[in-house]
């Protein structure tokens, strides 16, 4: 997030796109609703009528996969209505002329038709967003999990820069990070193309600094991304894997391919707190300590590095992952694997990653954490980003064009399936929440949201079992008659191993971000008849 979570409360306009915020980020959702209580306008872009969409002043219920068309239409309207922030554009951005010329060539009626939203509604939303100087955009995986995910994000950035809604408090572009430490895992470079603190793998000065501290040569070649590894297949390039605290056998797209890869590995080691679907394929399974049994830091969505404290010693014969990694390091003869505490590890991180330069345990303990960038011990941390300049200097407008999703509904597969985190009570592959009695009681089984008109046509009643097919697989799932989805669109979560919905999803990815298209896949629905 470029903003802090608390800032959202004082924004005047909140544009939420591709995020079921009250379900997936309840505290951020709470801040958004508080802002609305204080008089802020809420605009929600989502194909579904989620809880937050129901609270919206304007809900833009677009056809899945048409975000770029919608945002281009909004920008064109902003230009036509003379609402662009010319001063900001001339001082802080480049490439505006190209964008302007591109937008002027677009046909608004055509764009509205693509999105299946009424043009007047788009106009109203665009004007509300552009007229305020305290407009915030929050987006989540509904924007990124498309083959054009990177372009979707670029379109969102264009919209914010066009109206100057970036450099100030209460205005910005906020990707909401999913897992408790997905921000930190990225910061620490558990990524194939960068070094800790998003430093370049190729930069000779950076490499030299890392090599002098780590005392080993760094590999040069950019690594493979997650799906490139889990989809490597039977005779693919990956022969052995170590998986720590992840469950690709339930969370990744096109699961049959993942299974094929995992079964055919020469060796698989998994470290986890439960025997997950992935761990069941392993040669070696390590029992890891849970969050309550270890210390360390995690970084939340607003870049706040926070201290976790150990509440109890590891239960049974479990050990923290840090210990497991260092033990493996010793056995492999890897240098620099002899830290005595998490604080010592953080000292090395702060030495090598400038954005974490001032993160020291004594400071983190005092302040409920610090927000990066925090380059040195005396820096107070950074509440919001891009205050005087963007990371690259000037903000660049990039032209983005609508492209159709990789799979279209057909006669044989007439429905569009959208997947996501569907329940307030479950999390991701639900390894933790399904071991929590009260959460299971509240939401015991997977559901497929189907519009009531579609249910009538197919003669499906609420709670009845249906069979869901795509080109890649079949699952059986309980139907939920609803008006949350539009006719022709259905939605399911991927929380339940009994309904591995990702056996259906497409394995086409955004070529730039390698993000899979979880949000659009063509399916057929059939009622299950019990004879």
């Amino acid at each position: 997030m470029t903003n802090s979570i608390a800032e959202l409360e004082e924004a005047d306009v909140l544009l939420i796109t591709g995020s079921n915020t009250t379900t997936t980020h309840p505290q951020i959702g709470r801040n958004i609703l508080k802002a609305v209580d204080h008089g802020a306008k809420l605009l929600v872009i989502d194909p579904r009528r989620t809880d937050i969409a129901r609270q919206a002043h304007i809900h833009l219920a677009l056809r899945p996969g048409t975000d770029i068309a919608l945002i281009n239409a909004m920008m064109r309207i902003i230009l036509d209505e003379n609402l662009a922030d010319d001063l900001f554009i001339s001082m802080r951005t480049e490439n505006f002329i190209q964008l302007r010329d591109f937008l002027h060539r677009l046909d608004l009626k055509e764009l509205a038709k693509i999105t299946e939203i009424d043009l007047e509604t788009i106009r109203k939303a665009a004007c509300i967003y552009a007229r305020s100087s305290k407009s915030v955009i929050c987006y989540c995986l509904g924007v990124t999990q498309h083959t054009c995910g990177t372009d979707n994000v670029q379109a969102v950035a264009n919209l914010a820069m066009l109206t100057g809604n970036v450099e100030k408090k209460h205005s910005g572009v906020d990707p909401l990070r999913g897992q408790n430490n997905v921000q930190g895992a990225c910061d620490m470079a558990a990524l194939p193309a960068v070094l800790p603190g998003y430093q370049s793998l190729e930069d000779p000065t950076v490499r030299a600094r890392f090599q002098s501290v780590w005392q080993r040569e760094l590999p040069r070649k950019t690594g493979r991304s997650l799906t490139e590894m889990t989809h490597a297949g039977k005779d693919g390039p990956i022969k052995a894997m170590f998986i720590m605290g992840e469950n690709p056998a339930l969370s990744d797209p096109h699961l049959n391919r993942v299974e094929e890869t995992l079964i055919n590995l020469d060796f698989l080691a998994v470290s986890d707190i439960f025997l997950t679907e992935t761990a069941q394929f392993a040669n070696v399974v390590f029992p890891a300590a849970s969050f309550a049994e270890k210390g360390g830091t995690i970084t939340n969505s607003e870049r706040r590095v926070q201290l976790c404290r150990r509440a109890i010693p590891p239960i049974h014969n479990c050990r923290p992952d840090s210990e497991i990694i260092m033990e493996l390091g010793h056995r492999m003869g890897c240098p620099g694997m002899d830290f005595n505490s998490d604080a010592e590890i953080m000292e090395e991180i702060s030495l090598l990653a400038p954005i974490y330069g001032g993160m020291h345990y004594d400071r983190l303990a005092e302040n409920h954490g610090l927000q990066w960038p925090c380059p040195d011990r005396h820096h107070p941390g950074t509440e919001f980003l891009h205050k005087y300049y963007f990371a690259r200097g000037k903000g660049q407008f990039t032209i983005t064009r609508h492209q159709e999703p990789s799979e279209k509904a057909t006669k044989k597969f007439p429905f569009t399936l959208v997947t996501g985190r569907g329940s307030y009570h479950h999390y991701h592959t639900a390894t933790m929440t399904r071991n929590s009695i009260r959460l299971v009681r509240e939401y015991p089984q997977a559901k497929l949201e189907i519009h009531k008109d579609d249910c009538e046509k197919l003669n499906i009643g609420d709670g009845e079992m249906v069979e869901l097919h795509s080109k890649r697989g079949t699952v059986q799932i309980c139907a939920q008659v609803t008006d949350r989805v539009k006719p022709g669109t259905v939605f399911s979560s991927f929380h339940f191993f009994e309904v591995p919905i990702n056996q259906l999803t497409v394995d086409v990815m955004d070529p730039k971000s390698k993000c899979p298209e979880f949000k659009v896949c063509a399916v057929a629905i059939k009622k299950v008849h019990h004879d």
């Binding site: 979570i5 052995a240 849970s290 992952d321 493996l328 590890i345 959460l439």
Partner: protein, 133 residues
């Protein structure tokens, strides 16, 4: 009873939460009032954060597959087998034939260590996690 301030393990909001501990058992969770995110509130997952910690489905010991079945083994045997298998793969099929998945549920320190081990111990940049899922 002792209350320990830590951070919720579920979503990216990062609420400050107290875990109530008796006799090395986590028996409850409640929000911090002063914490800038939680400010006295939690969601239903946060209020039940402690429940999975002592689940009887938790893994208790290292497991090693012998004759197709996962069997309990010592830490040394599990660690030795893993380091040998990974080093063999490195020698036989090259560092880039090894893939490592780190975790968005683990700490910064653990992620840092694992990418360091992957890059200089195994000699590959094949490391990623579920940021896109």
């Amino acid at each position: 009873m002792q209350d320990i301030l830590t951070i919720c393990n579920y979503c990216g909001c990062g609420c400050g939460v107290y875990l109530s501990v008796t006799h090395n058992h986590v028996v409850g969770s409640y929000p911090s009032r002063n914490h800038p995110i939680s400010r006295g509130n939690l969601c239903s997952k946060g209020w039940h954060l402690h429940e999975f910690v002592h689940s009887n489905k938790r893994l208790t010991d290292p497991l090693l597959r012998k004759n197709g079945v996962l069997e309990k083994v010592s830490w040394d045997e599990a660690l030795d087998t893993t380091s040998k298998a990974l080093m063999t793969a490195k020698e036989k099929t090259g560092p880039d034939s090894i893939g490592v998945l780190s975790s968005a549920k683990c700490t910064n320190e653990e992620n840092y260590l694992l990418q360091k081990l992957t890059r200089i111990g195994l000699g590959t940049n094949n490391i990623d996690h579920c940021a896109r899922l």
